[in-house]
Symmetry: C2
Subunit: 154 residues, 2 copies
Amino acid sequence: MEKCEFCSLTELDKKYLLYENKFWYLFLADRQDYPGRCILVCKRHCAGIADLGKDEWLSLKEVMTGAENLLKAVLKADAFNWTCLMNNAYKNEKPNPHIHFHLRPRYSKPVNIGGIQFVDEKFGHHYDNKLPLLGDNAARELFEMLVANIGEHF
Amino acid sequence: MEKCEFCSLTELDKKYLLYENKFWYLFLADRQDYPGRCILVCKRHCAGIADLGKDEWLSLKEVMTGAENLLKAVLKADAFNWTCLMNNAYKNEKPNPHIHFHLRPRYSKPVNIGGIQFVDEKFGHHYDNKLPLLGDNAARELFEMLVANIGEHF
């Protein structure tokens, strides 16, 4: 069985933890291609949507809503692309998926973060999987901006 | 305001309707790149996850689970890529999104439908947006196979 990366998160892995409740972690993703990209991870090792309990499922919607509202307020995100894929787990011969969701905010207008301008050139179209990433300084600045506004949305 | 394509579905649009309940339609997608690809559409005009009611949200999980189980049973799907994007709505100046989810089943082994073999060459990786589509005859055969097994999973 593949070792589960989400069941062994270190403090370093949690450096961009935005919010947590009984069931879910919400992280600003390490992969900041779309500024404000987040990853929402179940605290329990759970393989997929079908296996989530009712309380986990109800809480999921609350955290999704909070994340969207936070990104609307702080970054003026216009739309949200949610995905639940777990493809990585299936690179292994004995897949051991752990449910998580990716959230890519989408922007009709340019976004400025840490002196860098991001233009969502494919707004209205499928997200681009090969965008360059925000640097560490801009990502840290973005994280601090989001954390400062968490209280209003969760 | 953009006219909502999902609020004006014709009988032709519903030709691949697999299942419906009070809140949701489950269609086999017209776009059969990944065999068994489905689209799950809210019956009510609702903009996104945040706006779904509790009953709609609870029902969504049941329909998602039924769809996965159906595709596991009939096509031996190994994994499921769910997306909730609504990008098309944002091509319009006054976006009017209607919540829907795409389900792409993923396959570790070749799948045979209507005499055509499908190989999921990127299994374990992000789905490919540019695959060729199954022809109408194979899609119709697939629809009939799925419909014949609906009763066990919903």
